[in-house]
Amino acid sequence: MSTTTTTHYPASTRTEQVETRTLCVLVDNEPGVLARVIGLFSGRGYNIDSLTVSETEHEKHLSRITIVTRGTPMVLEQIKNQLDRLVPVHRVVDITMAGPSIQRELAMVKVRGKDEHRMEALRLADAFRARVIDATTESFVFEITGASEKIESFINLMLPVGLVEVSRTGIVAIARGPEAMLSRA
């Protein structure tokens, strides 16, 4: 018998469209939980575009992780199911699919410059509703919140003005409306 494939694994035959989703994951805030989540993504070859985590319910030691990820619909379903399967994971909600939601990021943007550049930086910051949170005679640190695209364009505009560095939180998300998405007894 002759064959061209010399592997005993089936060929990849998937050609589905890749989509971006934001997942909110409620987890027990215990040692290693983030390693479990990240290990799952790296071990199974999933993408992480953004990840944020913080304890949100202190008495119950629950943390909320927001993950922005990409994949085909089948892979995205896998990601949700695999996350849900982790023992310390309470709930996984696909915020993108669950209805209207708000996604925000915070960035701190450091700009250095003199004279006209300083004025220009302040003008742009005003237009973007960024706040000055630190200033010296030759620099500013701006704080800006908003959708990622807005932050992206603010940073781009700051480039010629004297951008030094940026620190970003990554995306946090919440559903619109009165309901809590992640609450469960």
């Binding site: 089936p10 060929a11 290693g32 290990g39 089948m74 896998q78 199911n81 849900d84 023992v87």
Partner: protein
């Protein structure tokens, strides 16, 4: 509530969990636990293995043959790293284990201390869950949770890493009563509407097929009973994965044999041509599906699984049902009976439906007539298939358990040893771990002292964990290591023959030991058989000897394992051995179907 040390709590918790045996190997970081074991030998019996990998496989064999959680105790560092292959094996095959590892004292963690390794880091991806216990107060809960997590839902291995100072520390131990994990709640009951829908789809199917897996075995004896009843009631054909063998009796006419890469012609063709696939406790693994885009193109698919992440992972299904096989099968039975209590072929049958099922069986009988497992018998040399057929014939009426290593012999065992009952077949399916079978047989024999326990082995695999024969001798465990000795890593040789131009790169089993002398050196019993006419007598001798036996069955070195779905091909591109229909023939038929 009693005051005791962490080490004593370990024994206490094991006893409270009903653990009778624990497989292990001592070392510095578990000495307090070994001391506690020494002082309470009547409570939990420790079995000293010869390598920590052996301890984990033995615990797997123990667990798979009993349905209980298998337990292991190993030291830090090398003890833990040696256990990793076994943990991964248990994760792949969903085997419930609790593995207790010693760790350096808490104040030394992270210091590169002697025999320190990041056990929770290393075992995170190869366990269902793991713990590093940092205070004595957490220890009782961690131990009991470990058993709960290991055994419930989709079972798997759980590691509890206990630093040495925690083993010495004193605390209060109380056996938890009603036990509820904070967030972990596996779902057992299937959605009733979906079950109803499933049964309606089944009643309307013209070419239905059950495809079942290890989930049915894991779900317990009752699941197999329900499955048998459902298959009988519906009159549908059934095939199982390597992991699922024994849930349905192989001697029954509705059984099509194993499916997949080395499955039967009829099972794989039925998978390809069915119009309704009812998958229960199997996971559409790549050994089963072959080429995905050609997998069972014309069928609607129902998938019952306790693990939602198994659903729609490889193959999109039409009707997923998340739940435990036992519960879902019981509900399916009820729903089927409610639909119409008449026995097979099909309830709301109507003439057309009954006719269709009849035609489907006629087609299946045609595939069966191909006799895809046929091989050329020889009077001069033992054919490996013949060896297993004889082994089956001479042991089938006994209380027999079979384990295997990995390779051709494993596939032949799956094809030719015809299992009638669940929990009788222990093989490394997901990970394919050479060296699994011998230690697994030790665990099985310990759990079933009066039974006949046989490891169908390959001469290469068995050398990976051969030292465990010493464990068998120490504890009077009369396991039979039946080596199909083809002097090759036969499965590797087969692939090299078929796919790499017959260049047998490093697949010859060079410099083999004399297995009979090796047996004797271990104080076991050695038998060699080189001729077909001696085989029955020597198998009988093996059964009669009440000691561990190493049986060197010298077989045809050139035999290949067929049928075979080659590299990334579809079910209808299966190859047959030359004793069945020719390869040419197969391709032509495949060609026809592929239009």
């Amino acid at each position: 509530m009693t005051e005791m040390t962490g080490a004593e709590m370990v024994i206490e918790a094991l006893a409270d969990q009903g653990v009778e045996h624990i497989f292990g190997y001592p070392g510095g970081a578990v000495l307090p636990i070994y001391d506690a074991l020494f002082q309470s030998q009547d409570r939990v019996r420790h079995i000293l293995v010869r390598h920590e990998q052996g301890a984990v496989h033995a615990a797997e064999g123990y667990a798979r043959s009993t349905g209980k959680v298998g337990c292991v105790l190993v030291t830090s560092g090398p003890g833990a790293t040696n256990a990793v292959t076994g943990l991964t094996d248990a994760l792949c095959d969903s085997i419930p284990l609790v593995v207790i590892t010693g760790q350096v004292p808490t104040h030394l963690i992270g210091n590169d201390a002697f025999q320190e390794c990041d056990t929770v880091g290393i075992t995170r991806p190869c366990t269902k869950y793991n713990y590093l216990v940092k205070t004595i107060d957490d220890l009782p809960r961690a131990l009991h949770e470990a058993f709960h997590i290991a055994a419930s839902g989709r079972p798997g291995p759980v590691v509890v890493d206990i630093p040495k100072d925690i083993q010495f520390a004193k605390g209060t131990y109380a056996r938890p009563k009603e036990f509820q994990h904070k967030g972990y709640r596996p779902r057992l009951e299937g959605d009733p509407d979906r079950i109803k829908q499933a049964v309606e789809m089944m009643a309307a199917a013209k070419r239905p097929l059950f495809y079942t897996g290890g989930g049915v075995i894991n779900s317990g004896r009752a699941a197999s009973e329900h499955l048998r009843e459902l298959v009988k009631l519906t009159g549908f054909p059934i095939t199982s994965t390597l992991m699922g063998l024994g849930a349905y009796p192989a001697a029954d006419p509705q059984w099509l044999g194993m499916l997949g890469m080395h499955g039967t012609w009829e099972a794989n063709w039925a998978m390809h041509d069915c119009d309704l696939m009812v998958c229960i406790g199997a996971r559409f693994d790549d050994r089963i599906t072959g080429r995905l885009d050609a997998f069972s193109p014309g069928s609607r698919k129902i998938h019952v699984d306790i693990d939602p992440s198994s659903i729609n992972k490889n193959v999109k299904v039409d009707l997923p049902i998340v739940g435990d096989c036992d519960h879902v099968l019981a509900d399916m039975l009820r729903a089927w009976r409610a639909l119409a209590p008449a026995p097979n072929p099909s309830p709301q049958a109507g003439e057309g439906r009954a006719e269709a099922l009849k035609a489907w069986w006629a087609q299946i009988d045609k595939w069966r007539a191909k006799k895809s497992l046929a091989y050329r018998v020889s009077n001069d040399i033992i054919k490996p298939q013949y060896a297993i057929e004889r082994l089956f014939a001479l042991t089938k009426d006994r209380d027999t358990y079979i384990t295997t290593e990995v390779g051709q012999h494993q596939m032949w065992a799956a094809q030719f040893y015809r299992f009638q009952e669940p929990n009788r077949w222990m093989t490394s399916g997901g990970l394919g771990t050479m060296g699994y079978g011998l230690p697994a047989s030790v665990g099985v024999q310990l759990a079933h002292p009066g039974s006949l326990v046989i490891d169908i082995a390959g001469e290469a695999s068995v050398m990976m964990t051969m030292q465990e024969i010493s464990t068998a001798v120490q504890y009077d465990l009369p396991v039979k290591i039946f080596i199909i000795n083809n002097k090759y890593m036969g499965m590797v040789r087969q692939w090299q023959e078929l796919l790499h131009g017959g260049r047998y790169s490093h697949s010859y089993s060079e410099a083999l030991p004399d297995f009979v002398k090796l047996a004797e050196a271990y104080h076991a019993h050695g038998i060699r058989c080189e001729h077909p006419r001696d085989l029955d007598g020597k198998i009988r001798e093996m059964i009669e000897v009440k000691r561990p036996v190493i049986f060197d069955c010298v077989v045809d070195p050139a035999e290949n394992c067929f049928p075979m779905i080659p590299s990334g091909r579809a079910h209808n591109e299966m190859l047959l051995g030359d004793a069945a229909a020719s390869v040419e023939d197969a391709v032509t038929e495949a060609g026809k179907m592929l239009v």
